[in-house]
């Protein structure tokens, strides 16, 4: 009697996380139940031989809890370490933000396509990040800063629900010294915040900042990340009102991928798998998807 057997797992390590050590934890946002803000931290992970490009994401395992997709928030060329900014939003992200330096998390990836910065050489770059949506853009604008002379103006537009929910404020002075223009918006804010003059700001939606940003459409490229409605409305404003070419407006979509490799089906938008075909899409592509699945 011939019985052929072989372990299932010998066949693939597609779903097996690689243990990686946390080198450091930086507190980004302090939880404030009154303001509705949740604790947000940036984990510094050992990079090892992991190669990635801005815009890509990792599937990050809180061992014993599960796995969530997290964008990489550091430039591709950074030696030794990589950054992940994570907000306490659920069971797994809650375990990840509670981690300490020295703890081990699991990673799979990197997954997805990426921003191609070379295609925007010589242009003014506008980064539009709503809330936590700034995290996936951070690796990109950081990389642009490392190649500062390749680009024209670099403008960072950051909006959030309230001032306490803004990300990476500790880096702004350094950015400004390198010539980055920073504009802020908060959906709601007290007079004290609103009256401060620096960085320039407004109370309201992030799209209100577009008029303050002095965008010259012929030489501008924009990169958006945030809630779908922000990407949709922001992209439309930039293309239809301000006049940017739709292929020069790029958005990165967020979905709760379970696999990262185009199999589980959780990230499907129309006929696109965000984890494989995205997460970076041009406004042109997003508008076409929106004609079949409005608001994606």
């Amino acid at each position: 009697m011939a019985v052929a057997t072989q372990p299932v797992h010998g066949a693939s390590d597609l779903y097996v996380p690689r243990p990686v050590r946390i080198l450091d934890v930086r507190e980004e946002i302090v939880p404030d139940p009154a303001a509705g803000t949740r604790r947000t931290v940036t984990l510094t992970l050992e990079r090892g031989d992991l190669d990635y490009l801005p815009g890509q994401f990792l599937q990050v395992t809180a061992f014993g809890g599960g796995e969530v997709p997290i964008s990489i928030s550091s430039p591709g060329g950074m030696p030794g370490a990589l950054y992940l900014t994570i907000r306490d939003n659920g069971v797994v992200s809650g375990m990840l933000v509670a981690a300490k330096a020295g703890d081990v998390v699991g990673v799979r990836g990197p997954f997805g396509n990426h921003f191609d910065l070379d295609a925007h050489r010589g242009r003014d770059l506008f980064f539009v990040g709503g809330g936590c949506g700034l995290a996936p853009l951070r690796g990109l604008y950081w990389e642009a800063l490392l190649r500062r002379s390749d680009f024209g103006r670099i403008v960072l537009l950051h909006g959030s629900r309230c001032p306490g929910e803004m990300l990476y404020g500790w880096q702004w002075p350094d950015y400004e010294r390198q010539g980055v223009e920073i504009l802020l918006s908060a959906d709601r804010a007290d007079d004290c915040w609103a009256k401060e003059e620096h960085p320039p700001r407004c109370v309201g939606l992030i799209t209100k900042l577009f008029d303050q940003a002095h965008i010259v459409p012929e030489r501008a490229s924009a990169f958006l990340c945030g809630p779908p409605i922000m990407i949709e409305n922001g992209g439309r404003e930039l293309v239809e009102r301000i006049g940017l070419a739709p292929e020069r407006v790029l958005g990165t979509l967020e979905r709760h991928m379970k696999c990262g490799v185009g199999k589980c089906g959780h990230c499907v938008v129309v006929d696109r798998y965000v984890c494989i075909d995205g997460p970076v899409f041009s406004y042109e592509e997003l508008a076409a998807l929106g004609r079949i699945e409005p608001a994606w």
Partner: protein
């Protein structure tokens, strides 16, 4: 096209199946409480011969739920080697619609449909590699069968290892793969050459099924017109909202579909597979999150069947909730099944015409009804009715 054909008497085929059952796992149709399901059998005599199709497609044997994808140990998260051992398996009695469904799953899980062989799904492919498919051509289609519309049958040119057609004098065996040739070589003493009469009888029987379908079935998958409407986003929101009102969100359509394969991935303590079973056990660790995270021990990464019709499928953190309404979820499902975009990507319709969704849908919105409504929306209901009458 089949590369070799043989004839086997009914006794010879049973002899082959008995020998296969002795040396491998033989799975075939068996009757369980009025329904027919695919289950392991010890001998050919246990197989059900009088059936249209099984209640469930065979995918549950290739995508079992829960299925362990990985195992790691805490503290440290180091992967633990060793998994479920796989036996060589023979599937007997799969209908052509399910063979076509498996072929689609093969292309999907191998990464072919997304042009990414580097992300082939090992666990699925390992099961498929160890499986031999002996399909049986359906000669008595159910009222819900629609394979003729979807190139899913009644007989196929490829996708099987052996395709069997019952003739008046025994069985016609068509060999469709290297594995099938190897099997024919092993059982060469039980097989005989075919003659023209047998091939003509098979062609006649297949043509008879097609004719029966065209004459008697009122059900169709209207793929051309429906594909046009759904691919171009031409169906108004009200169309989907109405489907959403009829859908009871049981997920039955996707669970019984031979080509639906969406899944969830969760991590659970080693005993997780047990506590996830309907039999219960201690407080479930997942879904809903671990009750005691980071406890020392061994954890399993499990794949669980999931379903795009269920409300939580695309739920995201922070309150963002794409496709919050049931109608929007219906749109996603039918887009995946019928759109040109997915046909371009997958190579075929996402439907093989098995008719199971039409059988199980409590809201009466199987793919036949919905694709007909899409056609009505394109050409107008009266014109569609006249066309149907004319046909």
């Amino acid at each position: 096209m089949s590369d070799a054909r043989y004839w086997a008497s009914a006794a010879a085929l049973d002899g082959i199946l008995d020998r296969l059952a002795a040396e491998r796992t033989l799975i075939g149709p068996v009757r369980r409480g009025g329904d027919v399901c695919f289950r392991p059998v010890a001998r050919a005599a246990d197989l059900c011969r009088d059936y249209v199709n099984a209640l469930e497609p065979p995918k549950r044997w290739f995508l079992p739920t829960p299925e362990r994808l990985a195992r790691y140990r805490l503290p440290g998260g180091a992967p633990v080697d060793g998994g479920d051992a796989l036996r060589e398996t023979v599937f007997f009695g799969i209908r052509s619609c399910d063979v076509a469904g498996l072929a689609q799953l093969d292309r999907f899980f191998s990464g072919e449909t997304i042009g990414r062989p580097d992300v082939a799904d090992g666990p699925y492919l390992a099961r498929r590699k160890r499986t031999t498919i002996l399909s049986v051509v359906c000669q008595d289609p159910a009222e819900t069968c629609m394979c003729v519309c979807c190139k899913g049958g009644p007989a196929l040119d490829a996708g099987f290892d052996w395709q069997l057609t019952e003739l008046s004098t025994g069985w016609l065996v068509e060999v469709g793969s290297a594995k099938g040739r190897e099997l024919a070589g092993r059982f060469v003493s039980s097989l005989a050459p075919t003659d023209e009469r047998m091939l003509a009888e098979q062609a006649g029987r297949v043509a008879g099924v097609v004719e029966t379908f065209h004459r008697h079935s009122s059900r169709r998958v209207q793929s051309m017109a429906a594909g046009r409407m759904v691919s171009q986003g031409r169906l108004p929101e009200a169309f989907w909202a109405e489907l959403g009102e009829r859908c009871v969100e049981c997920g039955g359509c996707a669970f019984v579909c031979p080509t639906c394969s969406c899944f969830n991935v969760v991590d659970a303590p080693e005993a997780g597979a047990g506590v996830l079973s309907p039999a219960g056990g201690p407080e479930p660790a997942v879904p809903g999150g671990p009750t005691s995270p980071n406890v020392e021990g061994t954890y399993d990464r499990l794949r669980l069947r999931d379903n795009c019709q269920l409300a939580g499928f695309v739920r995201q953190y922070g309150g963002s909730y794409p496709r919050a309404t049931c109608g929007e979820r219906c749109r996603t499902r039918f887009f995946h099944k019928l759109s040109w975009q997915f046909v371009a990507r997958v190579g075929t319709l996402g439907c093989t015409g098995c008719g199971r969704c039409a059988q199980v849908c409590l809201g009466g919105i199987g793919i036949d009804v919905v694709s007909q409504r899409m056609t009505d929306a394109l050409v107008g209901a009266p014109a569609a009715a006249a066309a149907a009458k004319g046909a």
